[in-house]
């Protein structure tokens, strides 16, 4: 009956984008907070799309128009030691469709906690330093929001645990290369209804199995003093799940895949202000069961030393 059918990229963007913002430390980069330094701040993101992939079919939808997601995320990172940082983030999300009958939603999404540990930091050739990091991250819904109204639902409501490995080369002249890959396990989610149809069969159950997700990011950039300019290409692959059926709504366990390009500029004002400023833009290049989103971000962060 309802013909408003689209898809969202939101739940996974949040991890990468919100994280990719913390002064010089994110979940998937190759750097750490200095020992006993606390960086914290807020990131605003404006994501919008007017086309999406229904399975592999790219389309628009008059019952959605332009879909907008706005997010304000609190982020924090703390250097426990010179080799170990811990991070936290918590987004508040608003969704809105410019056309059609569907009501937007808003609310606190998922709390993510992460620990990043530096396995290795060593001079590599005579040009720079090679670092290797492992990150463990866990996410869980901060509230009791529904995941069953995509694309307007504010998230997917599963608990997640991911393991990540990152390799980073920082040249003495300022440029750097970074590669990072993660595997994310997701717990099943509970719906408010007793049955659902996905991936070619009916499930007479209110529980939905969530396929695992693999993602990787390759980035390169230039860091000179207080300025850092990374650009990156990321890919997310959901390891299972069904496609959005023809003219159907997206579903929480859909196979949501995408390739995304990101560009960022980060600058830290000198002491005593020590305010980190960041602006960024990203664009989905290709996808499956996601919207072709363009995202603009801006954030302010402050570092405290103890």
């Amino acid at each position: 009956m309802l013909q408003t059918r689209t898809s969202t990229v939101l739940p996974f963007l949040l991890i990468a984008l919100a994280a990719a913002s913390l002064e010089a430390q994110t979940i998937d980069d190759g750097s750490l907070m200095p020992r006993r330094a606390l960086g914290t701040g807020f990131l605003y993101a404006h994501e919008s799309w007017s086309q999406y992939w229904e399975g592999s079919l790219k389309r628009d939808n008059g019952n959605i128009g332009t879909f907008t997601t706005q997010t304000v995320t609190w982020v924090a990172g703390y250097g426990v030691t010179d080799r170990l940082s811990v991070m936290a983030m918590l987004p508040y999300v608003w969704t809105h469709a410019s056309q059609g009958p569907l009501h937007g939603m808003h609310g606190l999404q998922d709390l993510t906690l992460a620990a990043k540990y530096q396995l290795l930091s060593t001079p590599f050739t005579d040009r720079g330093t090679l670092r290797a990091m492992v990150v463990g991250a866990a996410g869980m819904p901060a509230g009791n929001y529904t995941p069953d109204f995509l694309p307007l639902a504010i998230g997917l409501a599963s608990r997640r645990f991911s393991g990540r490995f990152t390799l980073n080369f920082q040249a003495h002249q300022g440029w750097f290369l970074n590669g990072s890959a993660a595997y994310t396990w997701r717990t099943k989610v509970k719906l408010d209804r007793p049955a659902y149809f996905t991936n070619g069969q009916i499930y007479l159950s209110d529980e939905v199995a969530m396929p695992a997700v693999f993602d990787y990011t390759v980035s390169a950039g230039y860091q000179y003093g207080r300025l850092s300019i990374p650009i990156s290409l990321s890919q997310q692959r959901t390891l299972g799940g069904g496609d959005i059926r023809r003219q159907d709504m997206p579903f929480v366990s859909n196979r949501m895949n995408f390739v995304r390009a990101d560009g960022l500029v980060m600058y830290t004002l000198p002491a005593p202000v020590e305010l980190g400023i960041r602006v960024g833009m990203s664009r989905i290049v290709s996808g499956r069961n996601v919207g072709q989103a363009t995202t603009l971000t801006g954030g302010l962060f402050h570092t405290f030393h103890f």
Partner: protein, 516 residues
């Protein structure tokens, strides 16, 4: 900090994270059905009142060969050799079908409705294609199993099953041939085998009648349908429940009974339910002439209304005159203060929605891509049928009564919807948006309320101890449509009253059918 401490901090962080993650990610995809051991054989079911057939002898079943005949002995020997070499797949198939053929086919039917309950996508020029039964595999697929289509499909399958099983019961007790496992000690009973005579096999009757109905209703699913039907017959054979000749006679009977229902389905008015552009315009013009605001599709591009002539489809238990007599009165005028109050209630409800109300809206949404509201009530009934361990024929009666009531509720409700052609709340107040989905047909009266009230009346008659539970479900399903922002209070109240009256026809039939 010493390395050991660093590592322990990391370990604590990681294990804390891991604790958030539950290990078990498996989902049970189906309702659990224990092996059916019927509480009663219902040996008199051959004389229960018929709905559409003239009687149990409308289709004759020839006498079986004697139990001492060489032909029958060979059938028994064949079962023994099969049982000696059963594969795991064959054992799983036996276990699956031992849950009861009527309940299993009901699950499959719900799956088919969910699979086909998707509206056509718009063309580039802003028009919509109509699903074509002559070309069911195309885009759009046929059918669009929306609520009226689904209610009709559930009713055809379950009524045909019920009539076929009553006929089978009649002939079973003419011939009294036991199950192979009862005749021959060397044959194991791999699913519960009772004193119910085996000829003709009820499993084969069900497979034959169901496959023929489903091929007409869901032609693009023919591969799944025929595979399941074959499995069901094989399970009856391999389990020692029925012999090859029990099954052949049952299959032939089931297919024969289906022919009269297929013929009825071809002439019940469904083929005209989509209507024509002229008719769609006339609906709006008539409402305007009465001084009312006519319903307008809120979809983009605007979509023709869903099955505007479904109200003219033949009902099961009501004459066209009775369908007209039972209709509720007109809704409040779209320009009345009463209607303004009703719009305001919807707006305030949606804007102040609690999480509990949202959960109720989703629980009963049953929108596109689902088994539809009639499927939800079949889902509910299936649990009571399972727990009561009803015989196949009594289970079929339960589903038939329920689904005739809901089909007639759909006919009655659609007739009223297109008589008044009343706008949805979001049309009268564009600030009202929905948290579920917006059905593409007029508001008054609420289909959910009509379906649910008819279903609750029938199920309360059949399972009186659970009447309060059915009533509570009916109330919740109905009010969920205000939470969803797509119905006014009067849609729901008049819908419930209308549905209850229509359900009464099925109850009165059941009171006199000889099954009590």
């Amino acid at each position: 900090m010493r390395p050991s401490l660093r590592q322990s901090v990391l370990a604590v962080a990681l294990s804390g994270a891991a604790a958030l993650f539950g290990c078990d990610n498996s989902i049970t995809s189906s309702e659990a059905l224990p092996p059916l051991q019927a509480a009663s054989l219902d040996s008199g079911a051959g004389s229960w009142g018929m709905i559409f057939l003239s009687g149990p002898t409308q289709f004759a079943v020839a006498a079986p060969a004697a139990e001492t005949s060489a032909a029958y002995r060979a059938e028994l020997a064949s079962i023994k050799s099969t049982q000696a070499n059963l594969t795991d797949a064959q054992r799983r198939s036996i276990e699956y079908w031992s849950g009861g053929g009527v309940l299993r086919w009901n699950q499959i039917l719900r799956e088919l409705v969910a699979r086909f309950n998707l509206p056509p996508a718009p063309r580039r020029d802003g028009t919509y294609p109509v699903p074509d039964p002559e070309n069911p595999f195309a885009d759009p697929q046929f059918p669009f199993a929306n609520p009226p289509y689904a209610s009709r499909a559930y009713s055809y399958v379950t009524v045909a099953q019920y009539e076929a099983l009553k006929t089978a019961w009649y002939w079973k007790y003419q011939y009294h041939r036991p199950s192979p496992a009862r005749i021959d000690n060397g044959i194991a009973a791999l699913m519960p085998v009772s004193d119910l005579p085996a000829y003709p096999s009820e499993d084969a009757v069900l497979s034959g009648v169901t496959v023929e109905m489903l091929k007409v209703l869901f032609p693009a699913a023919v591969a799944l349908i025929t595979q399941k039907a074959g499995e069901q017959r094989n399970a009856a054979l391999w389990s020692g429940k029925a012999s090859a000749s029990d099954i052949a006679a049952g299959l032939a009977l089931g297919k024969s009974v289906a022919t009269v229902f297929v013929a009825r389905a071809g002439a019940d008015g469904m083929r005209n339910a989509v209507g024509t552009k002229t008719q769609w315009q006339a609906l709006a013009d008539t409402a305007l002439a009465r001084g009312e605001i006519p319903w307008i599709s809120q979809e983009s591009p605007p979509r023709p209304p869903m099955l505007p002539n479904f109200g003219l489809v033949q009902a099961w238990l009501m004459t066209p005159a009775e369908v007209a007599t039972e209709r509720p009165p007109a809704p409040p005028s779209t320009s009345s203060p009463e209607m303004q109050q009703e719009v305001a209630e919807v707006r305030q409800t949606v804007e102040g929605l609690t999480r509990e109300q949202l959960a109720i809206a989703y629980k009963w949404n049953d929108g596109a891509g689902t088994y539809a509201p009639p499927g939800h009530w079949n889902d509910i009934a299936a649990e009571y049928i399972r727990d009561a361990q009803l015989s196949e024929v009594r289970a079929a009666r339960t589903f038939a009564l329920l689904n005739m009531a809901m089909h007639d509720a759909a006919v009655g409700c659609w007739g009223v919807k297109f008589l008044y052609f009343n706008p949805r709340p979001g049309q009268l107040d564009p600030s009202i948006r929905t948290v579920i989905g917006l059905p593409n047909f007029p508001a008054y009266p609420s289909g959910h309320s009509t379906f649910s009230a008819s279903a609750a009346v029938v199920l309360s008659y059949l399972f009186p101890e659970a009447a309060p539970a059915f009533d509570a479900m009916k109330e919740e399903a109905s009010i969920s449509r205000i939470y969803g922002g797509i119905h006014y209070r009067s849609d729901i109240e008049r819908g419930k009253e209308h549905g209850a009256r229509i359900g009464g026809y099925a109850v009165r039939f059941a009171q006199q059918d000889g099954a009590n």
